[in-house]
């Protein structure tokens, strides 16, 4: 993607040459001057855009561009040229497609779907590909459902067209669990509808009955309305309301306090007593209250679960976008196959920039593998699945695949960790439990009191008390606050997968941070320079010619736009050692200590410093000009600009911070001391299993009643198990797929800057929840007082209870939890603008 700055916001209709910047016909980005072809009417910024445009143009679908200009100014992605042959593989068919009649259907996640024009274009895909019968897109989730005739067209062909118009697809994983979730969503919706219809009807009957009090209703009509209310309310309790009884029965059996227990008590008490009075023919009924309560509670839950589902969907989409195919060598050719069909003994080709699909042994090739820092591999070396091949093509002999690989084993640890996670006793549940106990005791007291004063009304008053003091704010307002908060957080790039997170993060606890990629940028960067500054331009010129990661980092960090480009005469690169060149008439040698000292004289001072840096865990690069070493550059993992300010603010708020890293202890100590950690809080050399053990040990040492929780922040495969085991696991941007599956919160902005915003939002949400509880407590105390005094008639009960709920609701909706804007920049003292 090209940076936003180069994009021209208003879609300029003029595409002619010579008037302002020339824009790409397909994506509206500025076309680089070198690619402008004055003989053409339309200009393109890259080959991908040209391909996409020509397909759209040939199929007479240019209306896409009109629609897009009306609706959205985001640029579409350019096309790609992957073969997608793995989509035709038998294993793929078995896993992801299903046959319905003569057609085959498959659901695919599409990358880059964001507006109505995308919808229009994708649903017209059957016009572009013969044999494709239907393409239906779910715009919000970005999932397309394809149906095609297998005798006419192959899936890879359809998918290639999709990719070439800018929507690279990936199979939607976990089809079974998603089907299960969809079914649950539907059941929830039906329950909500039934509860709503019943509540509305019973309310109407109740109105008629209240009117009848003042208007002398015929006893026969009164009886009919009462009996009808009873039938409907019993139906409401037995069908949609059954969820409360089921979950409170589970809560009672496992002896864990749960919000559903007081609700179930109130529903049962109100319902049973009203049934009794209806059959008896005299006394108050509370059917309207009970049925409205069922509806309101279900509605609160429905919205909360939908919001959390949306966050989970977004994370799942990211998860699906990670590569799932491998390039298997078959004879003289290679073929794209799904990872699932690889067998031990197969030979796979791994291009530079691809991640390894399996654990195995290098068969041929010589490249650098990214294992938190580049490691050189040659034939015979072992490589692990999930690591990135950085510099050159490799052929790898497959040893283990799938579950048996190291990543697979880690994923199993993740699943175990998620299972072991103890249920958190939620604040609202605790309050709810005490509240119920108190109210039950008070009801008992009221009953006793009135049995002594006036036995005829004892039961009446006690039940009135239970119904009027139902913890509505707990049952309804709390989920609504959480729903609004998660929704707003998602728009700000913080995807919260569970409701517990908000409570856990609202009070300071212990936070364990991963180093690479979380506190540091995760790549190589220039961290120190010693010696002659005048040779920086020379080093930049020489290193720009190489694609080695070290050279790239040096070239990037030493670039000086004001300097005049130097002329290079000759270069000679030795992989893994260094580079030798003649530039501006001077002989330059850049590389490791051993490489440079073989070709030039290295001063004692430089050699010493190089050894000291190497011992500290940073890579020293020597620069020699005309046979003498003149400067020393150090490459390491650069600390993120916002890290120090964020960590200081966290410490100020009372969080206890530690670093846990798989890197060498010296590297961790160096980064940790730069970020203000004490020596014992910098833990290095930890395996994934050791990280998991550290998390569990620290978690066990925290007092569960203190409210202090263990938060783990990380991004890599090696953090996944620890993320799952922590009270709250936060995965940061760019995380590996395993950590996406394991985390509770996913931050889509890189670095830990948005952690503070997340904590602020959670703290504010908890304040709103507490305020709601106070409001409802205030109302309920007054109502309970009236009920105990025996002054409560059904009219007052029917008015007081909704007022308590409505005011709590109003407060929740108006409250500031997370900032409401999408694009408001987050500023931290140390961050760059």
């Amino acid at each position: 993607m090209v940076a936003d700055a180069t994009r021209v916001q208003a879609p300029a209709p003029a595409r002619g040459l010579g008037r302002g910047p020339v824009l790409c016909r397909h994506c509206n980005l500025v076309v680089p001057p070198g690619l402008i072809n004055s003989s053409r009417a339309d200009q393109f910024c890259c080959h991908g855009c040209q391909t996409a445009y020509s397909i759209i143009h040939t199929c007479r679908l240019e209306r896409y561009y009109e629609l897009r200009q009306q609706l959205d100014d985001r640029a579409p992605a350019p096309g790609t040229d992957r073969t997608y042959n793995d989509f035709d593989d038998d294993t793929f068919r078995r896993l992801h497609t299903r046959q319905i009649g003569p057609l085959i259907r498959c659901e695919l996640f599409l990358h880059g779907v964001h507006c109505s024009a995308c919808l229009w274009l994708i649903e017209r895909l059957p016009r572009m590909v013969k044999g494709l019968v239907e393409a239906r897109l779910d715009l919000r989730r970005g999932i397309v459902d394809l149906a095609w005739d297998d005798r006419v067209v192959r899936l890879s062909q359809i998918v290639r067209t999709l990719a070439s118009i800018g929507y690279p697809p990936q199979p939607a994983r976990d089809r079974k669990s998603r089907a299960h979730r969809v079914a649950e969503d539907r059941r929830q919706l039906v329950r909500l509808a039934a509860a709503g219809a019943i509540a509305a009807n019973v309310m109407l009957f109740a109105l008629a009955l209240y009117a009848g009090i003042f208007d002398a209703m015929e006893p026969a009509h009164r009886t009919m309305f009462r009996w009808l209310s009873m039938v409907l309310t019993v139906l409401s309790l037995a069908w949609p309301g059954a969820v409360f009884f089921k979950s409170s029965w589970v809560a009672i059996r496992t002896r864990t306090p749960h919000i559903d227990v007081p609700i179930a008590f109130a529903l049962a008490a109100g319902g049973l007593w009203s049934v009794f009075t209806t059959i008896k023919g005299s006394g108050e009924i509370y059917f309207d209250t009970v049925s409205v309560l069922v509806f309101a509670l279900l509605a609160g839950r429905f919205f909360q679960s939908r919001q959390q589902r949306a966050s989970a969907d977004d994370v799942e989409l990211l998860f699906s976008l990670t590569p799932s195919s491998a390039r298997r060598v078959e004879g003289d050719a290679t073929r794209d196959v799904p990872i699932e069909s690889l067998q031990p003994g197969d030979l796979v080709q791994v291009l530079a920039g691809d991640s390894l699909p399996c654990d195995g042994e290098v068969d041929s090739g010589d490249s650098l593998i990214d294992e938190s820092r580049p490691v050189r591999v040659t034939p015979g070396d072992r490589v692990a699945a999930g690591t990135l091949n950085m510099s050159a093509e490799l052929f790898v002999r497959v040893q283990t695949v799938g579950e048996a690989t190291r990543v697979g084993q880690l994923m199993r640890l993740v699943a175990d960790g998620a299972q072991r996670k103890a249920p958190i006793v939620r604040f609202a549940d605790v309050v709810g439990a005490w509240f119920t106990l108190g109210m039950l005791a008070l009801a008992e007291f009221t009953f006793g009191l009135w049995l002594w004063l006036e036995p005829r009304h004892a039961v009446d008053h006690a039940v009135a008390l239970l119904v009027v003091t139902c913890p509505c704010a707990l049952g309804l307002a709390t989920p609504i606050v959480i729903t609004i908060a998660t929704g707003r957080a998602a728009r700000r790039g913080m995807l919260i997968k569970g409701g517990d997170v908000i409570q856990c993060l609202s009070t300071p606890g212990v936070m364990i941070l991963d180093k690479t990629g979380t506190l540091t940028t995760g790549g190589l960067a220039l961290v120190a320079w010693h010696g002659d500054d005048s040779v920086r331009a020379l080093v930049h010129a020489v290193e720009s010619t190489s694609s080695h990661p070290v050279a790239k980092a040096l070239a990037r960090d030493l670039s000086d736009p004001s300097a005049t480009p130097l002329c290079l005469a000759r270069t000679n690169q030795v992989l893994g050692c260094g580079i030798e060149a003649v530039a501006a008439g001077r002989r330059v040698v850049i590389g490791s200590l051993s490489f440079v000292s073989a070709l030039a004289r290295v001063t004692l001072e430089h050699a010493d410093l190089a050894r000291r840096w190497a011992a500290e865990g940073i890579t020293p690069i020597l620069v020699a000009v005309d046979g003498v070493s003149v400067a020393l550059a150090a490459l390491g993992d650069g600390i993120r600009p916002e890290a120090r300010a964020t960590l200081d603010e966290l410490r100020r708020r009372g969080w206890q911070l530690r670093i846990a890293s798989g890197d060498h202890q010296d590297v961790v100590t160096r980064v940790g001391s730069a970020l203000g950690f004490t020596l014992e809080d910098c833990l290095g050399g930890l395996s994934p299993e050791a990280k998991l053990a550290l998390v569990e040990r620290t978690k066990a040492s925290l007092d569960p009643r203190s409210g202090r929780r263990l938060v783990m922040v990380g991004d890599g495969v090696n953090d996944a198990a620890a993320l799952a085991a922590a009270d709250v696991g936060i995965a940061v941007h760019g995380g590996a797929e395993a950590s996406l599956a394991a985390c509770d919160v996913y931050l889509s902005r890189p670095g830990i800057g948005s952690v503070l915003e997340l904590l602020d939002g959670c703290a504010r949400s908890m304040n709103v929840i507490r305020r709601n509880l106070w409001i409802s407590l205030f109302y309920n105390t007054i109502a309970a007082g009236i009920a105990v005094a025996g002054l409560l008639n059904p009219l007052i009960a029917a008015i007081v209870m909704p007022i308590s709920s409505l005011s709590a609701l109003a407060v929740s909706l108006k409250s500031r939890t997370f900032a409401d804007q999408r694009s408001q920049p987050v500023l931290h003292p140390g961050s760059r603008p």
């Binding site: 919808l119 779910d138 539907r186 509808a193 009807n201 009509h221």
Partner: protein, 45 residues
């Protein structure tokens, strides 16, 4: 006013019909995706 004995249960039956119709619609997946159709209907030519 004895007409109420017919009309009120009839109203309840109508409501039941509505709920059943909604249940059928939800179970056949008509509420699975409520965002896309709103956009799609703008495009149909």
């Amino acid at each position: 006013m004895s007409v109420l004995f017919i009309v009120v249960p009839l109203a309840v039956l109508l409501a039941a019909g509505g709920v059943l119709a909604f249940a059928w619609a939800a179970r056949t997946g008509q509420f699975d995706d409520v965002d896309t159709p709103a956009e799609r209907m703008l495009h149909d030519e």
